[in-house]
């Protein structure tokens, strides 16, 4: 099984100002970037925001290779979206939509590349604490986020394995030979993960 860096960069140890910045500030940066993608209507402004975020990513020492790794899997989708929107709504609008998606991806990668997962999970626990009065378990919220971060590369790796396997059998153009095994493997992975968590007593309600 291969694992793939997919959409979000893994944590890179460091001492940059972004590493030292409070989690709340970085979280607000991600939220603001998400909101900006709705508010910004000029592609040049989107490009400027994206350039600024890329600059921050590089200043954090996470590296251009990791930045490209976070964006690369999305390039084919962005091309399709950009061409379609450009055709339907004009080139500036198509460019703005693509750039705004990139803004969200780079902002989220900035958060995950400069924040250890455990710190992220502690932050999620703090955020979810008010829901305890309604019977929610904040640790479960955190666990869900952690598992999501781990599962995305696993499923991407499964897709690459299945694609190779289909290619070896001359079935690369058969969508069923690609989709069905990925679906079945993903369900099996979910079951295994549940079992692994149960074996370690994780995910149980607090005593």
């Amino acid at each position: 099984m291969r694992g793939h860096g997919f959409l979000l960069a893994n944590y890179v140890p460091g001492t940059s100002f972004l590493h030292r910045a409070p989690l709340a500030v970085k979280f607000l940066l991600v939220v603001a970037s998400g909101l900006a993608s709705f508010v910004i209507v000029d592609w040049r402004l989107s490009a400027a925001v994206l350039a600024a975020l890329c600059g921050l990513f590089l200043a954090a020492g996470a590296g251009a290779k990791r930045l490209w790794g976070a964006v690369r899997p999305l390039v084919p989708v962005l091309l399709v979206v950009g061409i379609f929107q450009g055709w339907q709504l004009g080139a500036p609008t198509g460019a703005r939509i693509v750039l705004n998606i990139l803004v969200c991806i780079v902002a989220a990668s900035l958060l995950t590349a400069t924040t250890p997962v455990q710190q992220l999970l502690d932050g999620v626990v703090r955020l979810a604490r008010p829901f305890e009065r309604f019977g929610a378990d904040p640790e479960r919220f955190a666990l869900t986020i952690g598992i999501m971060l781990r599962s995305i590369p696993y499923i991407a790796g499964t897709f690459a394995d299945v694609r190779d396997s289909a290619r070896a059998r001359g079935l690369e153009r058969n969508p069923r030979a690609l989709v069905l095994p990925v679906f079945i493997t993903s369900v099996a992975y979910a079951r295994q993960t549940g079992e692994a968590l149960a074996a370690r007593g994780l995910g149980d309600a607090e005593d």
């Binding site: 099984m1 291969r2 694992g3 793939h4 860096g5 893994n10 944590y11 140890p13 250890p116 997962v117 455990q118 710190q119 999970l121 502690d122 640790e139 955190a142 666990l143 952690g146 598992i147 971060l149 781990r150 590369p153 696993y154 790796g157 992975y189 295994q192 993960t193 079992e195 692994a196 968590l197 149960a198 074996a199 370690r200 007593g201 994780l202 149980d204 005593d207």
Partner: protein, 243 residues
């Protein structure tokens, strides 16, 4: 040493194509209180079911399993704190992107302070010489490193009993030897299924499982001697199918 007891334990599962349930384990009664217990048997014989009962991952259809007196159904949470479980494939077990994060995840319930958790995780990783690999993606680790990482994550909470389901099956010779040496140095009671008969010979006691029953229970050398001919039976060329 903790005692793991099985009292008339049967595990059966419903079958789609038959009105009769399939019996995975049949009326097994055991008391395991040796430091090292090996479980050998053919694929599908019921080894994994037997091991999963110890951690409460599988519940008996009838009978009871207890670890140090705690019933694995009624006191499952307490049992899981005392029984660590290592799966065959560490990728199924490591649920965080890096080893350090996975070990810290194990500690989240017992150590609330983040700094304390970090230092305990580092100590657990250092114990197995894994500190230099702590921040690497688990996908970048070798099979042996992953298996040791999974072991470190389980041992970080200091369980009394360690259950391992064919831990060396996916490992090469070098990593198998590394795992063997690591396990030999642990204080925990170990209950381990394996197809590695050399590893089984190092146990204090070995159970042979055949079709859901314990067909032999005793000294490792005798267990292996009893298992080998039974397992290889039927491989005679005359008995093979012809087209």
């Amino acid at each position: 040493m903790p005692a793991v007891t099985f009292d008339q334990v049967t595990v059966a599962v419903e079958q789609d194509d038959s009105p009769h349930p399939k019996v995975l384990l049949d009326a097994v009664t055991l008391r395991l209180d040796q430091s090292r217990v090996g479980v050998i048997g053919a694929n599908g014989s019921g080894k994994s079911t037997l091991l999963r009962l110890v951690n409460g991952l599988v519940q008996p259809t009838s009978g009871t399993v207890a670890v140090d007196g705690d019933d694995t159904v009624r006191a499952v949470r307490h049992v899981r704190r005392n029984v660590g479980f290592v799966f065959t494939d560490p990728l199924s077990q490591l649920v965080m992107p890096t080893g350090r994060e996975d070990v810290e995840l194990s500690l989240r319930r017992s150590v609330k302070d983040a700094a304390g958790r970090r230092s305990q995780a580092e100590a657990a990783l250092a114990r197995f010489g894994l500190l230099k690999l702590a921040d690497q993606s688990i996908y970048e680790l070798s099979g042996g490193e992953r298996q040791l990482m999974a072991l470190a994550a389980v041992l970080a909470v200091d369980p009394k009993v360690l259950v391992l389901d064919e831990p060396s099956t996916l490992l090469d010779l070098r990593n198998r030897e590394l795992l063997r040496r690591t396990l030999a140095g642990l204080d925990q009671q170990i209950i381990m299924s394996t197809h590695d008969l050399d590893l089984a010979l190092e146990m204090d006691r070995v159970l042979v499982i055949e079709q859901g029953r314990v067909s032999f229970d005793g000294a490792p050398a005798e267990a292996v001697a009893a298992y080998r001919p039974w397992c290889l039976n039927g491989l005679d060329p005359a008995a093979t199918d012809t087209p």
